[in-house]
């Protein structure tokens, strides 16, 4: 039975360093993500409120046109938050894929469709908000439509990420998620939704604080509104946070409780401050900014503690499994590298190489259709040494293949390469030469019988003209050959007429007198030579 093992190549960085970098990079990334999300939410909320309050002009331009409309002023910073959030996200992505390869890749392959949708959603949300933040005004209905689209798409993204992270942190549920049509069971669903809401709440808190200090500046009405958002956000965070804590599937560590306590105290302090100052007294960034940063970090540390617990047993186990698997593979590595070295020295640019690599395992090194794999095939490979054909016909058969037989198509070789392959076949076995004359004695009577036999029996499939395109044969797979372009050396042709061609519709005619069969060889050969059977049959009598 197989075991789950880590990626086999060694870790390029010590685990401690990677974890530290991951934490720092993720905190930075998240900070901008929160401001991006919150800015989107606030801008949309302010737009609808302005509409509600009748502050939008008829079309959507502000009634006081002296300055940029408030929701657009909020949105102006979206570009920065978004750009930083995305670019800073690359670091944690890189780090988590290196240190927690198994849980992270497993979770995102489980939710691969959502994971891929994130890209499209990011582009759509980003362009829509960039459009709305533009100075130019669109009609308020259009603005509302774009805004609705943008906000829905934007807010879906953290939901997708949360789904991936929740499943990454619960390895014991992977199988049940996969078996349950990629749906979470109820405890996971509750945990996921609270976690998602916790992100949105944090986004409102951080974005309202940011716009309080950066966008509103000394506009006290705007500031009051933003403090109310912050207060509401913080209160919601406490409520959601308690629920989130209860929905956890694991016990926190002792340090987890410490961080929770620190976060709780800070949240309470900020709530108090916001409630106190919503009366109109401005807040000082000297406490609020560091307070929020420490709050974020302490909450992330709580999260980290849970994640470490979740991965605790798994990571050492998959690493050990990887070591054992690698040991097993070590005995094959030398051979594999040797094969590789050999393989990259092969250049498929000449007929000799192409024949040796792509043809000989069926047609054989001597071209007799007796390669090492020939015995598997129900339709035996052609004896190339006996083929006498034209370049155009061979080119067609090689590039298109022969349906119904094992002969594949080789159109992935360019025309010059196929030319060189045919040149190799011609040089080695004379496939483009004329067939040797029939030396076996054929009496005039046998020849006449052969001509009649051809018309009566063979022509049904091969046609009177030898092109093998009759009503009977045109749907045969493999298709019988076109005798005007393809023939075989007499002895081989005789064998086919006598014994048939295994795996095809061609039966054997061994019951016919030998002379007649040789006569048929001549009849067929003459189609290729462009002569008529009648004139050539005279030549047959002459030889007697």
């Amino acid at each position: 039975m197989s075991v789950l093992h880590d990626i086999l190549l060694p870790l390029p960085v010590t685990e401690m360093l990677a974890r530290g970098l991951l934490f720092a990079a993720f905190a930075l990334h998240l900070l901008f993500v929160l401001m991006m999300l919150g800015t989107g939410i606030l801008a949309f909320a302010y737009f609808t409120r302005a509409w509600w309050a009748g502050e939008l002009g008829g079309a959507g331009a502000p009634t006081a046109a002296s300055e940029l409309r408030w929701d657009k002023r909020v949105l102006r910073t979206f570009l920065v938050h978004k750009s930083m959030a995305v670019v800073l996200g690359v670091g944690p992505l890189l780090l988590i894929q290196v240190v927690f390869s198994i849980p992270f890749f497993t979770a995102l392959t489980i939710f691969a469709p959502l994971w891929l949708l994130i890209i499209l959603f990011l582009i759509a949300a980003s362009l829509s908000f960039d459009a709305l933040g533009h100075k130019a005004h669109v009609h308020r209905h259009v603005h509302l439509a774009i805004g609705l689209f943008a906000i829905v798409v934007l807010l879906a993204i953290p939901g997708f990420f949360a789904a991936v992270l929740v499943s990454a942190e619960n390895p014991d549920r992977w199988l049940s998620i996969l078996r349950g049509r990629f749906a979470f069971d109820r405890p996971l669903l509750i945990h996921w939704s609270l976690r998602y809401l916790h992100v949105l709440g944090a986004a409102i808190v951080f974005a309202s604080a940011f716009h309080y200090f950066f966008t509103a500046k000394n506009d006290s009405a705007r500031r009051q509104s933003l403090v109310r958002w912050m207060l509401g956000g913080l209160l919601a965070q406490v409520a959601i946070g308690i629920g989130l804590f209860l929905s956890l599937l694991r016990e926190p560590t002792f340090s987890g409780y410490v961080y929770l306590f620190v976060g709780g105290v800070l949240a309470a302090a900020l709530i108090g401050l916001a409630a106190f100052h919503s009366g109109g007294v401005p807040m000082s960034p000297r406490f609020v900014v560091p307070g929020l940063v420490v709050l974020l970090v302490s909450m992330l540390l709580v999260r980290q503690g849970f994640q470490d617990r979740a991965f605790g047993a798994l990571i050492p186990q998959v690493r050990q499994n990887a070591e054992e698997y690698q040991k097993k593979l070590d005995s094959y590595t030398e051979q594999a590298v040797k094969d590789y070295r050999g393989h990259i020295q092969i250049v498929y640019d000449n007929g000799t190489t192409i024949y040796a690599r792509s043809c000989s395992f069926c047609h054989g090194t001597e071209g007799q259709g007796d390669g090492p794999d020939a015995h598997y095939l129900s339709v035996p490979p052609e004896n190339l040494a006996a083929v006498r054909s034209t370049k155009a016909y061979l080119y067609l058969k090689i590039s298109q293949g022969v349906p119904g037989s094992g002969m594949p198509y080789f159109s992935y070789f360019s025309p010059p390469k196929l030319d060189s392959l045919i040149a190799y076949l011609a040089q080695t076995w004379g496939v483009l030469a004329e067939p040797s004359p029939v030396t076996a004695p054929v009496s005039k009577a046998d020849m006449e019988a052969a001509v009649q036999e051809y018309q009566r029996t063979c022509a049904q499939c091969h046609g009177r003209d030898g092109r093998s395109l009759t009503d009977v044969s045109k749907d045969l797979r493999p298709q019988p050959p076109d005798f005007t372009a393809f023939s075989l050396q007499p002895q081989w042709s005789f064998n086919v007429i006598t014994n048939g061609y295994r795996g095809t519709a061609m039966p054997g005619y061994g019951s016919l007198p030998e002379g007649v069969r040789w006569g048929l060889v001549k009849v067929v050969q003459e189609k290729r030579m462009g002569g008529s059977a009648a004139t050539r049959s005279d030549a047959g009598t002459d030889s007697q």
Binding site: P10, P12, S83, L94, T109, H343, V347, R357, Y376
Partner: protein
């Protein structure tokens, strides 16, 4: 095998990864490096000559440029990670372990690039007059950072394809400074300038109203386009020259796979036409003919984009059967695993298959073997349909061909598994052709137990 399987339905994995990556190349090279350089140049010219027209053109051009970079460019860049990690997780996971530090440094450079670009954009008005010099220098420092990130990413990209050293000694520097490093870097930088010049000409011709400036700037940008096209062509040739011969023969396959380009004369004729269009657009710009330039610049830009996409297509294709040279096949089976699977079987070592398939049936075994061996490139019913590839082939022939793919088709990996497994896969494909099997979850190539209960 260590991750649940996912294949992008219908389009297949390679095309999705490729399309995302090519769009990213257009933007990361053409806009992030090229177009921004043209804007900085315009600002510089305006500043040196004290001409406000150049500056207002540069300022007008920077806004859409920044929006494109920070939305489409950044998202498709992250998209490369997203697409590869969802579709070839063990491939990207292994690559990361070799190239962690360059990627980490690249990330820091990226972040700095974004900070500088956003600052450059937002300080245009504030840093004017005596502070203009600082603003122009900021633009210049962005160009340095963008060039640096191109340098780092080129080291990583080159390795994936044509490393000679890494397979033997597993040394980082051998992997990074692989033979194609320098020519590829030269190609990317000159390509960026060509694309940037083409893009800025489009902006100049279709969005900018200042006709006097248009005439003057047209000649400058046409000259840059022509001047960068020469090293671009030369480095393209140089790059192709240093690619090992065994990979090089795959280059033509890249186009042979496209039905319309199978006939070589058409292929070259198309190139000549595109080069001609670019040359004509350059001439129109040089002659300051606004009307002619307007007519020609869009087809010429199309030509430039075709060349850029073509290069990436060839580059991706010629690595042939390997994702990591000497280590991993394109289907993420390790070369050493291939030997193991031949002796012990692939199914036995497939973690998720064994977890999910409770009562193995031919459908499940065949579908899994197909997914792991072929699914990176082939789909069922979509692009590069396996049924079309084996059309008209009896089961015995499919069995033989499956066993010889690596030998017969220069760019294909080998089938990894026992003969018994090869028989199962051949039978599965035969059944597919007869439409006798039906996959419940085509993107997963496994019947998810639980779905059966419906």
């Amino acid at each position: 095998m260590e991750f649940p399987y996912f294949q992008f339905p219908w389009l297949g994995d390679g095309l999705v990864i490729g399309v995302n990556a090519v769009i990213h190349v257009f933007i990361s090279h053409g806009v992030s490096i090229g177009l921004v350089s043209m804007v900085v140049l315009a600002e510089y010219v305006g500043w040196r000559r004290g001409e406000a027209g150049w500056d207002s053109f540069a300022k007008a051009a920077i806004k859409p440029t920044v929006i494109i970079i920070t939305s489409l460019g950044a998202m498709t860049g992250v998209g490369i990670w997203f697409t590869t990690s969802a579709m070839v997780p063990s491939g990207i996971g292994s690559m990361l372990r070799v190239f962690f530090w360059p990627w980490f440094i690249e990330w820091v450079v990226f972040a700095m690039e974004v900070v500088v670009l956003v600052t450059y954009y937002f300080t245009w008005d504030a840093w004017s007059g005596p502070r203009k010099r600082r603003h122009v220098y900021l633009g210049g420092s962005y160009m340095v950072l963008a060039g640096l990130s191109a340098l780092i990413i080129t080291g990583i990209l080159g390795f994936m394809l044509t490393s000679d050293g890494w397979p033997w000694d597993r040394s980082f520097w051998g992997a990074f400074f692989n033979p194609t490093f320098l020519p590829q870097l030269a190609w990317r930088l000159s390509e960026a300038l060509v694309m940037g010049a083409a893009f800025v000409m489009i902006f100049l011709l279709f969005w900018h109203r200042d006709l006097a400036l248009q005439r003057e700037a047209l000649r400058l940008y046409a000259t840059i386009l022509a001047g960068a096209a020469v090293p671009m062509a030369a480095s393209g040739w140089w790059w192709f020259h240093v690619v090992p011969s065994s990979f090089k023969t795959h280059a033509v396959f890249a186009f042979q796979m496209m039905t319309g380009l199978r006939e070589t004369p058409w292929f070259w004729a198309g190139h000549v036409v595109l080069v001609g269009l670019v040359a004509l657009a350059v001439a129109a710009g040089w002659l300051r003919s606004g009307v002619m330039a307007k007519l020609l610049i869009l087809p010429a830009t199309f030509g430039v984009l075709v060349f850029a996409a073509e290069y990436e297509w060839v580059r991706e294709f010629i690595r042939g059967p390997y994702l990591m040279p000497g280590y991993m096949y394109a289907n993420t089976v390790l070369l050493s695993e291939h030997e193991l699977f031949r002796q012990e079987g692939m199914l036995k070592h497939a973690y998720w298959y064994n977890r999910l398939a409770q009562t193995p049936s031919l459908e499940e075994e065949g579908a899994f073997l197909f997914a792991q061996n072929c699914g990176t490139c082939h789909t069922i019913g979509g692009r590069n349909d396996i049924r079309a590839r084996f059309r008209g082939k009896p089961e015995d022939a499919i069995f033989v061909i499956l066993g010889r793919t690596e030998q017969m088709i220069p760019f294909m990996p080998a089938f990894s598994g026992t003969d018994e497994e090869r028989t199962k896969l051949a039978r599965f494909i035969t059944q597919l052709q007869r439409q006798a099997v039906h996959l419940e979850a085509p993107a997963r190539y496994t019947r998810i137990p639980g779905q059966e209960q419906q």
